[in-house]
């Protein structure tokens, strides 16, 4: 039985009103905008913490709380309330969002201090926080949908924050449109849910699935639709193309939205819908496939990127691939996916902030080929980034090790060929991750100075370094804390009702220690290759060499993802549009005008019968008489 809480709405309302206040307040609030924004976010974090402790105070089975606000939509039996629901799964997200969010707010105060529109930036960040919280707190798919699009909007606004640059504006649009494709999936999912179960709330659908109201086909369709939504939002294959471009936004945005929180919404959606995927096996397999492909896809792109943010973005894509893959493994995977999600939130956000710090010191330069030897100039950044690096490549005892190792483990345990394939992919991914992250490390902080003239790298102010430090601490410790005694898994257990039974009790393909060893070996290989290529003594050209293999070129072009989209959708779409414009002008309107001019032609033709000759008029009379006579003759025949 779930309890209720009257606090939940404030989680959303405070940042939301703050955002509105900042936007409507205008320039008058320029001086205090960032403070208000940060306070709003912190307030939400505090509420989140309060709720968390309140939750811990309840029995594991009764930890969910709801708050019914008002009836949102009710037509016939389509009844959606504006209601909030907080359980352990949401709680993870609430804390991640508000916590990391607040840190990034703080970081942004300094990062954006020279920006004319900082107030607006904070408004958008608050808007994002509110939308993301709605996403995870909504008790129905439709409420989730609102948050879902809300974060999409915030993402659009933030990516395009400097939209006076056309490329940034385009990136924002691209992100939104790609997300829209995913939204189609979510829309369809809601419809299927409504038609099948008569309800769109999570509990309603879960009950419906349990009661067996839906056919397997319907469930698989529902699952596929949900997956489509997740793919769009989480930049998974084949809708991954927007994420790289999304790095156009200010770096804190990349850290918060495009690393820690929003892009993981897909994982949340799948986990939240575990009751569907648990029975929709085809959809579940699809989830696995998507996760596996994206994992490698992102990793491969990451190897070729010289732009530090894009390299990190590719890494994000890849890491989310891990999470998706984990969710695709069924009950055993959800918790590990969540765990990886949280640890990833820490270390990836930290690394992004570090990247931001580097850029801050390097005149917003993003090309790693123009970095080098920065460790001396920005020690804090180096350390925090380095800790994040160790976490992501999965060096024990950093956070990433615990979470990623588990995923590799359960992937191998999936059984049979599937297990071996998935396991190999995850291991390969780990090796590549180690390679390209080492590459980033080496190119940025080690080696020779390759800076542009006039660059004076310096450490960032403390408002920026403190969040980085906090996140670094998280990257170091989170994995260990979570994993201690399966604490995290147990925390989430009531949500997933996983007959978890244990991990460990089931027969493993390989013993955990062997898996860890394999993983570490893979990491070691990756790191070694990176050192061999980019390590001490290796000269890194400041311009990317062009005499590289086709594969490198392809990888640099994001594995041709944009080219494919362009060839498959944009071009034909543009042609279709042009064709339709012509059809509209010539055919449809033309037909109408044609009827008009035809009438006119007929008119001027028929008009000629009016010759002005009396005799021809008389002839008409005779012809008419003839016709009438003939007609009447015919009638009487």
């Amino acid at each position: 039985m779930n309890g209720t809480s009257q606090m939940l709405v404030y989680l959303i309302a405070i940042p939301l009103f703050s955002a509105a206040f900042l936007l409507l307040g205008g320039r008058a609030l320029d001086k205090v905008g960032h403070i208000i924004g940060t306070l709003a976010s912190s307030a939400a974090f505090v509420i989140g913490l309060l709720e968390f402790f309140a939750m811990l105070g309840r029995a594991p089975e009764n930890r969910g709380v709801t708050q019914r606000l008002f009836t949102w939509i009710e037509v016939g039996n389509f009844n959606v309330g504006a209601s909030l629901f907080l359980d352990q799964l949401s709680m993870c997200f609430v804390l991640l969002i508000t916590g990391v969010g607040t840190l990034i707010h703080i970081y942004s105060i300094a990062y954006m201090s020279h920006d004319h529109d900082r107030r607006r930036f904070f408004a958008f960040l608050n808007l994002f926080i509110a939308a993301m919280l709605l996403l995870v707190l909504g008790d129905s798919y439709l409420s989730l949908y609102v948050g879902w699009e809300g974060v999409g909007l915030a993402s659009y606004l933030l990516i395009g924050f400097w939209n006076q640059k056309p490329a940034y504006a385009t990136a924002a649009k691209k992100a939104f449109v790609a997300n829209r494709v995913g939204d189609v999936g979510l829309s369809l999912a809601v419809m299927i849910a409504f038609v099948q179960f008569g309800s769109v709330s999570f509990s309603g659908v879960a009950e419906g699935v349990e009661a067996g109201k839906a056919s397997s086909l319907a469930l698989n369709c529902l699952g596929a639709a949900l997956l489509l939504a997740a793919v769009g939002k989480s930049a998974q294959f084949p809708l991954q193309a927007w994420l790289g471009d999304a790095m156009a936004g200010p770096t804190p945005v990349s850290a918060l939205i495009h690393a820690a929180t929003m892009v993981t919404a897909g994982v949340y959606l799948i986990s939240r819908s575990h009751f569907v995927f648990d029975v929709a096996t085809i959809a579940q397999t699809l989830v696995l496939i998507v996760g596996a492909i994206t994992l490698l896809f992102g990793a491969i792109i990451g190897m070729a990127k010289d732009d530090i943010k894009k390299a990190l973005a590719a890494s994000t894509m890849s890491q989310i691939g891990y999470m998706i893959l984990a969710t695709g493994l069924g009950p055993v995977g959800y918790a590990f996916a969540m765990m990886h999600l949280l640890t990833h939130g820490f270390f990836k956000a930290g690394m992004f902030l570090g990247a931001g710090s580097v850029m801050h010191g390097m005149n917003d330069e993003v090309d790693m080929r123009k970095y080098g030897a920065l460790r001396k100039y920005m020690p804090i950044t180096f350390v925090t980034f380095g800790l994040g690096y160790l976490a992501i490549i999965g060096v024990p005892p950093f956070a990433g090790f615990y979470s990623k190792d588990k995923i590799i483990e359960i992937a191998l345990d999936a059984g049979g060929a599937k297990g071996i394939i998935l396991g190999s992919i995850t291991l390969l991914g780990a090796a590549i991750t180690a390679f390209y992250m080492s590459r980033v490390m080496l190119m940025t902080f080690f080696g020779s100075k390759r800076w542009d003239a006039g660059t004076h790298p310096h450490e960032s102010p403390s408002l920026m370094t403190i969040p980085m430090i906090i996140l670094a601490i998280g990257s170091v410790t989170a994995g260990f804390i979570f994993n201690m005694g399966d604490r995290f898994v147990k925390f989430l257990e009531p949500v997933f009702h996983s007959e978890h039974g244990g991990h460990g009790e089931k027969a493993h393909l390989l013993p955990p220690i062997v898996v860890s060893a394999l993983a570490l070996t893979a990491v070691a290989i990756g790191v070694s290759i990176a050192i061999a290529k980019y390590g001490r003594g290796k000269e890194i050209p400041t311009v990317a060499p062009s005499d590289v293999s086709v594969w490198t070129k392809v990888a640099r072009r994001d594995l041709l993802q944009d080219d494919l989209n362009e060839a498959l959708f944009m071009r034909p779409g543009q042609e279709l549009t042009k064709a339709l414009a012509i059809v509209d002008e010539k055919v449809i309107d033309g037909a109408v005008r044609g009827v008009g001019s035809l009438t006119l032609d007929v008119a001027s033709g028929v008009r000629k019968t009016q010759t002005g000759f009396v005799r021809s008029y008389a002839l008409w009379i005779v012809v008419g008489a003839l016709a009438i006579l003939a007609a009447i003759t015919l009638v009487t025949l």
């Binding site: 002005g612 000759f613 009396v614 005799r615 008389a618 005779v622």
Partner: protein
């Protein structure tokens, strides 16, 4: 002989009159052709009057003659007027009004 022959004659004369209206160009001749058509109708009236043994047909023919006379007066007056203005009695020349 059947009385029908008178009707055939009437129809024939009527048709010829109509053809005259269509073919001739002199307004007066056209008008004479119309008179021919009226006369043809009168023949039909008189014949039918005889067929039915009913004097109404003759009455009709009588009225037709009066009407025709009136038409002739007005018609010729109009034709003369237009002739005086245009120096032409051809109906084809009166075609300022057209299309």
């Amino acid at each position: 002989m059947s009385l029908d022959n008178y009707l055939y004659l009437s129809a024939l004369l009527f048709t010829i009159g109509a053809a005259g209206v269509l073919i001739r160009r002199n307004a007066i001749v056209v008008f004479m052709c119309i008179e021919l058509m009226l006369n043809a109708s009168n023949l039909a009236f008189v014949t039918f009057s005889r067929m039915h043994g009913n004097i109404d047909g003759q009455l009709f023919a009588f009225f037709t003659m009066v009407v025709a006379a009136c038409e002739v007066v007005v018609g010729l007056a109009i034709i003369v007027t237009i002739y005086r203005s245009r120096r032409s009695a051809s109906v084809d020349d009166a075609r300022l009004l057209k299309l």
